[in-house]
């Protein structure tokens, strides 16, 4: 059994230690936020926070996470009470298919925790590891700027 702290809760998981965090979140803990996109750390759809830093959960073995805090999209808010970054994305209607957006939100959350008022260039740089195929990028940028602006 592996013990994990996910969204403030301690979870005991029966998984091979080499299992990437993504599959533990999705398959064992039934959390939808982190998505499978490439399994190679190339697209960012699986982004979560580990101790406040953005990581690609598809290439992070669960064995490396003992004693560390994992935060997923679900840890930021709910449909009834979305978190600050989620609210900003909703306000900007920053989604088309929306599949990449959870990863974008987590990446933005990590950025804003470290840099509360990023410049446009800093946002583009921070988000460069996350791919969007619908071309929602301009709205995503506006949403991150809005999240930085609004409490």
């Amino acid at each position: 059994m592996i013990s994990l702290n996910v969204n403030g809760k301690t979870e005991e998981v029966d998984a091979d230690p080499a299992t990437p965090l993504l599959y533990v979140l999705r398959d064992h803990l039934q959390l939808n936020g982190a998505k499978f996109g490439c399994g190679l750390g190339q697209c960012g759809a699986c982004t979560v926070l580990v101790d406040g830093r953005a990581v690609f959960s598809c290439v992070t073995p669960v064995s490396t996470l003992a004693g560390r805090r994992v935060t997923t999209l679900e840890g930021l808010g709910t449909p009834g009470k979305p978190g600050r970054v989620q609210r900003a994305f909703i306000a900007e209607q920053a989604a088309q298919c929306g599949y990449c957006i959870p990863g974008m939100i987590m990446q933005a959350q990590a950025l804003l925790e470290r840099t509360p008022h990023p410049t446009s260039t800093e946002i583009r740089k921070q988000m460069s590891g996350n791919l969007c195929r619908c071309g929602t990028h301009m709205r995503i940028l506006r949403a991150v700027e809005r999240a930085a602006r609004e409490p």
Partner: protein, 724 residues
Amino acid sequence: MNRRGFIARGGALVVSFSLLPRLAAAQAGKLPGSLNNEPMLDAWIRVGADGRITVFTGKAELGQGIKTALIQVAAEELVVEPARIELVTADTARTPDEQYTAGSQSMQESGTAIMNAAAQTRALLADLAAKRLGVPVERLTIRDGAMNGISYGELVAGQSLHVRAQAKSPLRDPMTRTVMGKPLPRVDIPAKLTGQTIYVQDLRLPGMVHARMLLPPSYGARLRALDTAATAKMPGVLKVVRDGGFVALVAEREFQAISAVRALAQGAQWDERANLPESKEIYQKIRTLPSQNTVIHENGKSGAGPAMLEAEYRRPYQMHGSIGPSCALALYRDEALTVWTHSQGVYPLRGALAELTGMPRDRIHCIHMEGAGCYGHNAADDAAADAALVARALPGRPVRVQWMREDEHGWEPYGPAMLSKARGRVDASGKVEDFQYEVWSNTHSTRPGPAGYLAPGWHVEKPFTPPPPRAIPQPAGGGDRNAIPLYKFANARVVHHFVTEMPLRVSALRGLGAYMNIFSIESFMDELAAAARADPVEFRLRHLEDPRAQAVVRTAAERFGWATWKKSPGRGRGFGFARYKNLAAYTAVACELEVDRDSGRLRIGRVVAANDSGDIVNPDGIANQIEGGIVQSTSWTLHEAVGFDHSHITSRDWGGYPILRFPDLPQSVEVHLVNRPGQPFLGTGEAAQGPTAAALANAFADATGTRLRELPFTAARVRQALGA
């Protein structure tokens, strides 16, 4: 449960025709939109005794916002708050058969059907209310789902309005609209942004097992030997399902399936072919393969004099590149099959699965659930067929199949490589005197329907042969979509070379041939304008007769500041315009870009677009589609080409098929909409792809004096073109 059963179980009442003389007899002639194929009003709209309104569409949400727009249309004509409406999308047991959600046709087909069905349903309700109250219909006050205070639920008392639609509907005056034409927030976004179960990838059913495919390493590879002994002992492994070269591994847990299929791949031996052309020979190959040649347009006496200008354009194979690889769930139980899929066409898929499995159609139920954006025919149907075949081998257990990244990249049907050739001449008055255009392309549609268009259909022991490819006829066209310019030329001739042999698997990618043809023709328009010493925007207006086309061109130019734009070294501006399919939305794009000669990198400045999609339902939805189309087309145009060698697709991940990332974005993207209330809906979803590519190409030529005619404009190609 089929739809008729559904209605019967709902305690339907067939509103008798004598009760409703005004809408009784179906009129001869074509009904609006998809009503023409499904004319019963209650196939589209049902009003419950509790006042709940359910609207049914055969179209699917693909991330384009169709759910929200259809709800707006229904709410407007029914005069209810949008929040009261529940929308049921593509489902073979519940919704009308509207074939594929494709071709930017959902608003014309389903939107038009729902708008008219809602208006006619409102009229039926008004007749019921008028009879009940003994007042004329004109004296009724209709407000949020009630007539003179009597709710719709009370009026129908649970009865279905099982009435044939009429050709004409009492549509509301566009000037009095309260919901249509206004930006309603997308109904699907909050759930997607908080991790609710929306995507088929997120669906978990009790007792569900996970399958991964062992796909062949290349087209036509034959499985010579498969050693399953080692994998059978791996943790969680339940079964290896094999039917000829179709191989799937099933495990209890998802990562167990992934680990085991990797081990299985080690023990698989394939006989491969080496029959693909070399990447760099592909254009020569396309030109020399057998083709069906059709003159699709001719006016005047084209080719009478010498050509003043001649140019050839090239577009490589390009991917849909969905961010979420294709996924499906299937459950086979009691000789019935249920499939949850992000296919664009649940009804055609059902037919394909019936052929593939030998099951009767009425024992197969396909339910659409969203996947990641597809932008056309990707591997969604293949994954659904995989899940169906695996589920048949594990009765009673829901099977979830998800393709891996290399599966999707390697096996999805690509947008075809294309070649075009333009020749032309301008006269002394500065107008185009002759225009000749030829385009070479494979088909742009190999959608199932036939099981021979499913990848697993090729791999099973008794394979299904793909039917011969067919060209999509004009005026929509396939490879020749938008090959006929909207411009009026004195003499013009357009030829479509439909290339029937397909070296790589191809099918519909957003815009089909329009992307390449608009890139070619709009690039050539700038070359002709230069020959005429004319401003590119003014030159286009000179040849456009349609006032709506002119309005869109003028709007984009004005908002961009075309007339006052100042050139500086290394910077250029470009313009592109088309009316998608020559019958859908009008889009013009102006942009500026800067070329870094040393690195070959292009920096895109402002992009300004104007769009006329007819009657606007959700302006923010249209803006989102056009913005997205501009950014996606920028990615295609600057970065994308599928790589392959003699046997293999070599673009198997995002490293081998780079797409646009945030640092390469334009500085800004603006979209200006021209609304035409009361006019028909004009499809928007694919309208920006071509004009964007052309605007970028023309801006590059303006910046450097050198024209790029081969896509994509990678840094390496830019450096080569500039001799850097």
